[in-house]
Structures are given as structure tokens and as C-alpha cells.
């Protein structure tokens, strides 16, 4: 059953990408896909990259679609990326500045992962933090979605999005 749902999901995602590609042909919309795209099959992943490449030049209207995304995975992925980059930097600094022993404190600070490094390496770094978060379905929880990015976002929950969107804005 889970496999069937996964197949349906991939099929619907593929359909969604086809529709987006058609819309992007006629309207200047930039499309971003945020999430662990490695979990998608190769065909969908290529379609996603192709769509992002085709619409990269637009900047007036940006749509970000979260695929294979959850916030805790985003944080872990970001810590991994930051660690890899710091490891490379650390190795490079050690190799090229072996004689420089006096600035131990400065080196330690440079080797540390800062908050700005983590935020830069997140999947959702492609878009600014949202001002408003709207959840449909009348649920009052974030369900592991954007709890890092919504520190200062107003959130609304509703059954029907249309009139609530008017009030929220």
C-alpha cells in the first residue's frame, strides 16, 4: 500500500512538473525545488533540474516547491554541508599555513561552524523566511515543516484557504 501510494505520488509529481513547465513557457515565473532531490527517481530529478535551469533568469515571481523535504532533515543536511566545507577549509589552512602557530585562537574561530553557515547551506536558503504561513485542513501543528524559518512568521490555519488568505494578507 505504501509502495502504491509512493508510485501515485511520483506520478502526480511528474504531472505537476509538466503543468509547471507549460506555465513557465508563457509566464515569467522562477521555479525552485527545495529538498533532498536525490530521493527522487532520475527522470523526475532531471525534469526538476531542467525546469529550474530554464526559469533561473526570472526574478519577478518565484515559486518554491518543497519536495522530499522536512525541517529536521534540512538542519542535518545543512550541518553536514557546513562540516564538509569547514573540513576542506581546515585541511587547506593546515596544509598551507603550517608555520603559523601564533594565531591559534583565530584559527579555532575560523574552523567553527557559525549560524550563518548553517542557514546558508539549508535547502530553503533559496528563498527568504516567510512572512505568513498558512496551513489548510484546520490542523494546528507545523508537522516538521519550516519550524526553523517561521520564528517570526504569522501563521494561519483554515479549512478553506481563499477567504482566510484575504484576511491573512
Amino acid at each position: 500500500m505504501a509502495l502504491l501510494n509512493l508510485i501515485i505520488y511520483c506520478y502526480e509529481l511528474g504531472e505537476c512538473m509538466t503543468v509547471l513547465a507549460k506555465i513557465a513557457k508563457h509566464h515569467p515565473i522562477k521555479v525552485n525545488f527545495a529538498g533532498n532531490l536525490e530521493l527522487l527517481n532520475a527522470e523526475l530529478r532531471d525534469e526538476a533540474h531542467k525546469l529550474m535551469g530554464t526559469t533561473a533568469e526570472y526574478s519577478k515571481f518565484i515559486v518554491t516547491i518543497c519536495v522530499c523535504y522536512c525541517c529536521t532533515d534540512d538542519i542535518v543536511h545543512s550541518v553536514e554541508e557546513s562540516s564538509r566545507k569547514k573540513h576542506y577549509y581546515h585541511s587547506y589552512i593546515e596544509d598551507s599555513h603550517d608555520d603559523d602557530k601564533d594565531d591559534d585562537d583565530k584559527d579555532d574561530e575560523r574552523h567553527m561552524i557559525k549560524l550563518v553557515d548553517i542557514e546558508k547551506n539549508m535547502y530553503m536558503a533559496v528563498t527568504p523566511d516567510p512572512d505568513i504561513l498558512i496551513r489548510t485542513g484546520d490542523e494546528h501543528r507545523l508537522s516538521n515543516f519550516l519550524q526553523w524559518q517561521t520564528c517570526h512568521s504569522l501563521w494561519h490555519h483554515c479549512l478553506q484557504i481563499a477567504w482566510r488568505l484575504v484576511y491573512g494578507i
Binding site: E38, C70, C71, T72, D73, I75, V76, V79, E80, S82, S83, R84, K86, H87, Y88, H90, M112, I113, K114, L115, D117, I118, H140, R141, L142, S143, N144, Q147, W148, T150, C151, H152, S153, L154, W155, H156, V166, Y167
Partner: protein, 295 residues
């Protein structure tokens, strides 16, 4: 002597007085020059009238749209005003035990409660009163959060004034305890703690030589991150079941993101206008929720 009267609409459509065509019958002037002068003035008048109509038309449309937007906002505000009055009345009825369904709360479902308070709204007297209400309802484990850390700084004062609580210890298990346990958190326990945990993990794996530059390889897991966070923050409680937000804005104000994955969030309004009935209603709503994943 007669004149042809042309309506402005006809003139607007044609645009040039040579192309004027009559639509209503009047009296034609006999002399050509008189007719030419008259046509010129009529055209000028009609052009000005058209321009005025166009400008006025745009202005009228703009004004109408703005009025509609403001009317919509006023209507929605009135609706919410009425809803707030109804909520206040309901809260009063709940406090006095007049509504039957709120009389028995399944408080055992609420293992860990978190309360987010706007830093500017942090009055210790209100906080202590809120804690007293929670103790009366049977809530055993509470986390108090405010962004600036004002509650953290006042924790000794709060623990002294509120006799029925102890500080939450890292190794405390969420079982029935005689006294309520209190945890105090601030913004530094959120994003900054994740950065510290990231450094702890990085140093650990640097020493073990496990980090490589191969992009596809996963080197950290969520459980390792969770363990690192516990080590870094210390006295860090579990994920809350319910988060109550006391403040003017509906947002969690930076409560540690790692801990609110599946937490139910309820906005309660400003702390100074907190109501016992609203608290009971929020807890009741939580006990009726069904989650498909998590606890």
C-alpha cells in the same frame, strides 16, 4: 436657425469633428461658417467632457475598489469582534463549570506542555498565576519560553514564589511526580544551540577522520543531532505535546525548532488578558486531536 446636437458618446467614438455624425435630431444651422464654429466648440466641449469622464471614470473605479476592500476588512473585523465576544462568554461559562464537556479533561494525554510568552509581556505575577492554574488542572511538566531570556533570569524568583515546582533535570523521566517540573528556555536554546551542536559533531568526526568530501555520503543522522543538542544545551526536556503562545502575534517566536516537529500550537492572546476558561478549552481541544504520525 437650427443646430444639430451631438452626444458626447458619439463624439468620443469618432474623435474628430469631421467624422461627427448626428444621433439625435435638433435643428441644423443654415450657414456653413456658423456650423463649422459650432462643430468646433461642440467637439472641444465633447473632448473635454470625454477626458473628464475618462479621468473621473478611473477615479470612480479606484474609489469603488478601495471602498469594497475597506468594507471587506470592516466586515471581517466585525465578525472577529463578535467571535471574540462569544469566546469570552464561553470562557466565562467554562471557568464556572457550566459547560459539561469541559468538566473532565484527560490531562494524562498532556505529558509535556510548553508556554511561549512575548518578552515584553512577561509579568512574573501573571506567569505565577498561570502556573497555579496549570497545577490545579494536574499538568506536571511545563517549559516556559521567552525570546529574550527574561523568564530564565527570573527563574529563582518564580521557583521561590511558586512553591509547587522544581527545576527540570536532564535525567527526569516523565512520570507522575509530586511537584511540577519547570524548564526555562530562550532563543539561545534554539538556533544557536544547533550551531553549537553542529560544532560538537564536527569536532568529534574530525578527530575520528570520518568526514570526507564525497557529497552523496551521509555522515550525520537525526538521532546524533538530537544527542548532540542534549549534550550542548543541558536540562533540555522532550518535545512538548502542546505549545501555548501568549502574545499579540500568532508565531512561536523562535522556540527550539528541533523540539516542535509535531507539537500542537494554540495561540492564546496577550498574557495580561489570559483566561482560565480559555486555558481549559485549549487543553481540551488538544486532548481531542488525532495525529497520524508521532505520539
Amino acid at each position: 436657425m437650427g443646430y444639430v446636437v451631438y452626444t458626447s458618446l458619439e463624439l468620443g467614438v469618432w474623435g474628430r469633428f469631421k467624422a461627427i455624425r448626428p444621433n439625435s435630431v435638433g435643428i441644423l444651422p443654415r450657414w456653413k461658417s456658423e456650423r463649422r464654429v459650432l462643430s468646433f466648440f461642440i467637439f472641444k466641449w465633447a473632448s473635454c467632457y470625454d477626458a473628464l469622464l475618462l479621468m473621473g471614470g478611473d477615479m470612480i473605479v479606484n474609489i469603488l475598489l478601495r471602498l469594497t476592500w475597506h468594507l471587506l476588512h470592516v466586515t471581517i473585523h466585525l465578525c472577529y469582534f463578535a467571535i471574540n465576544i462569544a469566546n469570552a462568554l464561553e470562557s466565562h461559562l467554562i471557568s464556572n463549570g457550566l459547560l459539561g464537556r469541559y468538566k473532565s479533561l484527560h490531562i494524562s494525554k498532556l505529558q509535556y506542555l510548553a508556554i511561549v510568552i512575548e518578552s515584553e509581556d512577561c509579568r512574573t505575577s501573571n506567569v505565577i498565576e498561570l502556573l497555579q492554574w496549570l497545577a490545579d488542572l494536574g499538568v506536571k511538566h511545563v517549559c516556559l519560553y521567552d525570546k529574550e531570556g527574561i523568564l530564565k533570569q527570573s527563574k529563582d524568583f518564580i521557583l521561590e514564589k511558586f512553591n509547587g515546582a522544581t527545576l527540570f533535570q536532564e535525567n527526569d523521566v516523565l512520570l507522575d511526580q509530586p511537584l511540577m517540573t519547570l524548564e526555562f528556555a530562550s532563543f539561545s536554546d534554539g538556533k544557536e544551540a544547533v550551531a553549537k551542536a553542529a560544532n560538537a559533531l564536527f569536532m568529534k568526526y574530525l578527530k575520528s577522520g570520518s568526514i570526507s568530501s564525497y557529497q552523496g555520503e551521509q555522515i550525520f543522522t537525526e538521532s546524533q543531532m538530537g544527542e548532540a543538542l542534549k549534550t550542548v544545551v543541558g536540562g533540555n526536556g522532550p518535545e512538548p505535546d502542546l505549545l501555548l503562545v501568549y502574545g499579540p502575534a500568532r508565531c512561536h517566536l523562535g522556540f527550539p525548532a528541533w523540539r516542535i516537529r509535531y507539537t500542537e500550537i494554540q495561540h492564546m492572546g496577550p498574557l495580561k488578558s489570559m483566561k482560565y476558561g480559555s486555558l481549559i478549552k485549549a487543553i481540551y481541544k488538544f486532548t481531542m486531536v488525532q495525529q497520524n504520525y508521532g505520539k
